[in-house]
Assembly symmetry: C2
Homo-oligomer: 204 residues x 2
């Protein structure tokens, strides 16, 4: 394993993995950096360079064995296992995330959902019952969870992040439309549905 | 306006805009490429280079006027206006998107929601009534919409994309966990909640 890989490279690996999984579903066995690049909008050279951080995955001129490369990427990304994840905030978006069927095949399982609204606590959402946010510290520890999704309003996000980090969470996906501060060593990813739209209008 | 700006640069502008809007909310008036870089995890040089595609936004050594730069970015991204958007697929995720309060301040308004499930057609979601997907062609034309969000299951996504494109849609955000083919000239952005998680586990 290399000592340091740029974050931007790590950020692209899940997209490569997804493209490979689509190819596998189409019944394909071999692909090339050219084909992957065309599917993803990157140059073939970029893909070869990114993968070269982790070793040699294809023979010159004969392409990549899709199943093998996908499995190697899963190992590198550590999604060749199942990670438990908690969701905080069970409004519309949190509700959708708790019930989202796409996490399991990618290596994740939502194991608890929290809200501070008495009307939501105790509600059944998918296979889970919404718990009181005050239980976050003990539940996160009990379940040994390192990953959390914040789906609260902006006003609650920083306090929730602080609580999660104190409880032992080390990676956060933040859907709340606000930046939150976390200590060094805690990773955070922002998701903003409006930002995706703003990336398109330039071209219209 | 420059003739060609790399997609990756356009993709970063909404993040700069969001950071500037947060600074404004904090009551700030001036910022620097250093500060923006620290907030966003980019180098100051990267930010200066990206902005230089579009002109001179700050004086050497005196930083950027936040309100001015935000307004200029809104113009460049064409979100200094309100774009109508349609949502197709009103499951959990589509429901959350139709009701999402974060679109309006960013320049977008959901003007119609479609589903092909008879149990959902006619249902009130937020201020909209879910319409039959068969009405997509006439409604998209009638409302003059160019942007759509696909929130259907993977199995329906390609057919929905084809229908949208035929109706005149030129930009799509795809939440369905599958790649879809669209003709040249139609822009597509993929959003995959699992990919965001897969970008974090490497570091755990």
């Amino acid at each position: 394993m290399p000592t340091h890989v740029p974050d931007i490279v790590i950020g692209r690996l899940p997209l490569y993995l997804r493209a490979l999984e689509h190819l596998l579903k189409e019944g394909r066995e071999i692909t090339s950096s050219q084909e992957l690049g065309e599917r993803l909008g990157y140059s073939a050279a970029q893909i070869r360079k990114d993968l070269s951080f982790f070793g040699e995955f294809g023979k010159q001129g004969s392409g990549y064995r899709i199943g093998y490369l996908a499995q190697e990427l899963r190992k590198i990304l550590k999604v060749d296992r199942e990670w438990p994840v908690v969701v905080v905030g069970v409004g519309d978006l949190g509700h959708a995330l708790v019930r989202y069927a796409g996490f399991k095949p990618k290596g994740f399982r939502i194991v608890a959902a929290f809200d501070n609204d008495p009307a939501k606590i105790g509600q059944q959402v998918g296979s889970l019952v919404v718990q009181d946010s005050r239980l976050i510290p003990e539940e996160v520890k009990r379940l040994g969870v390192q990953i959390a999704i914040i789906a609260t309003p902006a006003s609650a996000a920083q306090e929730v992040a602080d609580t999660l980090v104190a409880a032992g969470i080390r990676a956060i996906v933040n859907y709340a439309p606000i930046s939150v501060k976390v200590p060094a060593g805690v990773r955070i990813q922002y998701v903003d549905p409006a930002v995706q739209l703003q990336r398109l209008t330039y071209y219209l």
